[in-house]
Symmetry: D2
Subunit: 352 residues, 4 copies
């Protein structure tokens, strides 16, 4: 795709923490060019640098700093929009954009559970894009909405995918230790989390349990069928900046040996069409053999934050296997994940 | 027990972090009086204040600061010794004391798994002291060794005990988020743990799995019988100073409702003889109803660090119930736990 | 003072973090009894337990949990009110209470700089209460307002007082490393402070510089005269929960030796009338000789959080002496400081 | 310099934290090629991957992992050696290498204060290399030793240099808040630093005070003359991973306005010869105008960790100006600083 033909894109909710990540990641993207940054009325009409309290690493790119923030109206000069909106706003705004012909790649939870809206991790279930046809037909949209999962679910569904394919996943215990950046900005108060663990994140466990089944499910007759996997999640917040750590115990139809499981994980690469996308990691899953890895601070940035690192693959006295997963919650688990979805849409011809 | 009749006690390994806790907790104890502080040859012969780098909260008590550190010889003017020795040293030294007639209350793992050595949490399995008779008979000791469990196991076995009694425990998933003080001093390097999670603590998972079965087991014919419970543990270190947090999923013979489980937990009080011990908490288990409790920083000190606080009792999609437990790893889970064991020995007439 | 004659008191701004400290500290206070908890209209009329998200250690005292929150009207059945209001609200509300006859002990900055309002640390400048006469006369109040200083200033002015008395203070460099609890709740976002230092706290440096001069000043002819001390402050936020640490370099009229300075600090005890107050520490200043003390986590709780701990007293190549101070910012530096002021008012006969 | 002519280099003390940084930074360096990794006898003879517990971000480069660790004998096939040795070992080993003809770029403090050994930050005092002539003449060395300063001094001397040139520096107050990585590995115990400040780092204040005077001094008649600047330093450790923050108050011969000082800082670029070195940052000093910058976590990586970021430039009530500096202590302040020195040696013809 030559520079001349870059797809003009916009970011909805551009001033928040995830929005900032979109701006950062889309700067110099080979296929996409930011032409508008949109946010709530409070920010609209102001230069981005003024409207935005930049909280992620680095500085706002100069081109963005000077851009005037647009309002959330479906009149942006873009064909594709990335949504970093809060769920309640997304529920109102995203359909207006889809209706108006935009492809919406959403990081919000608002439409993840709609039966005709794909919830996609390209390496895991690129084929779920098939739902778009029904989505457009039933809703009368010329545009579309594709969603990416909750940041914690991403670190679970990715390593479970190749294990499911090879051994037939049946049961999952997942206990997460999640970074504070998952709560947005200002998010978690330092008085709550310094030297502490918060054993509760509102709505998170339900999302993890449901989205894991959706991602590992399949599409039949234009309808999404959930995977028959029982998932039990316990979500915790820990004083880590970025990177979610998840302890998993998993049960299978066919019990693999540890080495068979490691081989399935290490060999995983997703469909060919996905591997060639610009943001796709060379190895979606990295397997570490050291006894004390993965660790969020040391492994979250693997492959530019796009790989999930797993380790401690070992037998489980109760189910079949235990393992630990670390993934970058604001890259693979949020903005980068949506960008990969957008690249897939382009590659599959959904963006004209 | 009047002041005149206080039992003279010594602390073995008095200069380490757990040893310091023993010194702190035994100061002004109603039943015990420290008469000797013993440590390795490096420290022996020096005033305690010089030999010891005090790392726990507060200051060393003045009486202890001036005491000369003794060597680890079984010639101390005590009847009871508290052992905060590393396992490898404990293995050599503790039997010499037991042989010489001392009652050894050990915090070390060295003898926990010997079939004739009680591993005890008074509220959970005070009756395991019955093993002492066999211990003395077979080993020819006039003294004895009683051990207390690993700090993480304590936070698991205590809440599981009343649930086991009421509903028949069968399966346990335990994922721990453990404080750095559990690693002793200097212990975990700040470069490893600041803003990070370490998903591995050497030997910890095996200890948790085994000790939980031992503590919930019973004594028959002078022999300890492990409980028939399958335990799967995943141990993590998090940047918390004190207080271990554990996410539990548990399966029972008879599935309780959430409220039945909460009632069993809240009503738990251990045997009468234990409730009257000076260090026994009024409520060994505190149940919190807030959605985001227990938290290590906010709940570890409940009842002077002797209560285990549980919360988030709820159904589990895979087993029967999920809950979260927080306990103070260096108080209930270490020094205070051993002191409660010692008090039980006195109450049961084992210390003359 | 017998229980029957306890002074009925109220807390204004009772639901915030400092308000919670007042509630906690006034429970079982020998002289004071909480009869009302007042807060903004959002909270008024609700039970305190519902209106208040308890963020400080421990649990809300049961008597308070059930109390209905009053509105901020000067019709409370108290004679003395403790104000934990934000400055902007305090500016409106506190004079209404003083006008209506209440003694207001304020933790807010709103009136600290009024020439007729005492800014007091009892050990430092109890005699500034003399301003009250003028305050009442000029404002026509039957009540009064007495303020306590900014939490960081407290840790500076207390150790400087005896040095000023003995050696004539002239210059002060103060670089603070302040705990997050100083910012209230939710206060500092964890995304800002985890693994970080914030070299700026709005308005703090000006407060430190001015209040230090006021506290060390004197009252002449019913007017407050600032001390002729040049103060340069640099304020930083660090990832510490409680306890402000301050590095000081100080210049004097008469250069003391290190030992002379230590003697002046260690011997400091404030006026007799202050020493006998129920909340007064035995030693307002504790001097540590270890090279690496004071530390906020290890020294903030000295004497129930009422003592300031200093250490590293040594020569300065530029001015005369360097030293480090640690004090508890929400106890001595906030709620407990105001309570000590209130006790002084009672002892001096200002509360009928 | 073409690839064929890369200078063969070795790292002494290659297995420690700073040694690992050298290995990481020298991989793919345009001028240098690692041909040997040397360490103490404990590591010598083992593959680097085995001998080394990699603690810095990322993974050891594959070429290094397989290299056998050499002993610290001056028989390495290199012309230039980077020393990350502890001071006590450096004192013995570095002269042997200099004697044997190696150019030693040392990060150790062992020889920093020798009158004939340059202590260099290229942008600050590249001309001090002139001492090498005398060093070789007096010691009879065919090689040489050049040292780089203590990591904290670097963040002080760099911003003070242009201010000194423009306004005549006379007095400096420096209070540091230093990252734990400055203490090496394992370094600071997590039990000491979590949620805490340590107001003491052994020997640090003396190093800062002395080295600042040396770096800002000049060379006359082949001898180094200290700058006539009075420096008072207070060093603290804070729970930050990387990046030292320093609060400075400075007095000048000619008091500049804030804007004059900012202009001098922002325009600073060091000598031409330095600007062209491969590791030299485009802007050695970055000035931030936001009120709350610089911050260690957000600014340490500026210009690849080679720039010092300053901010909060403002007047001082006591001296002339106050400002805050942040620099990366293990990059600019350690390994990268030594590499820049080595590049300067090459550019100046000292490495044949």
């Amino acid at each position: 795709m030559s520079t001349e033909t870059k797809v003009p894109v916009a970011v909805l909710g551009a001033t928040g923490a995830v929005g900032q990540r979109f701006v950062q990641l889309l700067t110099d993207h080979p296929w996409f060019e930011i032409v508008a940054l949109a946010a709530s009325e409070r920010s609209a009409g102001r230069p981005y640098a003024d409207a935005c309290n930049w909280v992620i690493p680095g500085d706002p790119p100069p081109f963005a700093s000077e851009m005037m923030v647009s309002s959330l109206e479906p009149t942006l000069p873009a064909r594709l929009v990335f949504s970093a909106l809060p769920a309640s706003v997304a529920r109102e705004v995203e359909p207006l954009f889809a209706q108006a012909g935009y492809a919406v790649c959403s990081n919000a939870s608002a439409f993840r559970y709609e039966p005709d809206v794909p919830l996609v991790i390209p390496e895991v279930n690129a084929d779920h894009l098939a739902l778009i046809e029904r989505q457009r037909a039933e809703r009368g949209w010329s545009g579309l909405i594709v969603t990416s999962p909750n940041c914690t679910t991403t670190g679970i569904a990715m390593p479970l995918k190749p294990l499911d394919v090879a051994f037939g996943l049946r049961q999952v215990f997942a206990t997460s230790m999640q970074a504070v950046s998952g709560g947005g900005y200002p998010g978690v108060a330092s008085l709550d989390i310094l030297g502490n663990v918060l054993p509760y994140i509102g709505g998170e466990e339900e999302k993890i349990e449901r989205e894991t089944r959706l991602l590992l499910g399949h599409v039949a007759d234009g309808r999404r069928v959930e995977a028959e996997v029982v998932v039990s999640a316990q979500a915790n917040r820990v004083p880590v900046l970025d990177g979610h750590t998840i302890c998993l115990s998993v049960g299978f139809e066919k019990r693999p040996t540890v080495e068979e499981a490691i081989a399935a994980l290490a060999d995983f690469c997703g469909p060919d069409a996905v591997r060639e996308l610009p943001s796709a990691p060379e190895h979606p899953i990295l397997v570490r053999r050291e006894p004390d890895r993965p660790q969020p601070r040391r492994d979250r940035d693997a492959e530019g934050g796009m790989a999930v690192t797993v380790g401690r693959v070992r037998e489980c006295p109760l189910l079949d296997l235990r393992l630990v997963s670390v993934s970058h919650n604001t890259l693979r688990g949020a903005a980068s994940g949506s960008i990969l979805n957008a690249e897939l849409l382009v590659a599959k011809g959904y963006i004209k």
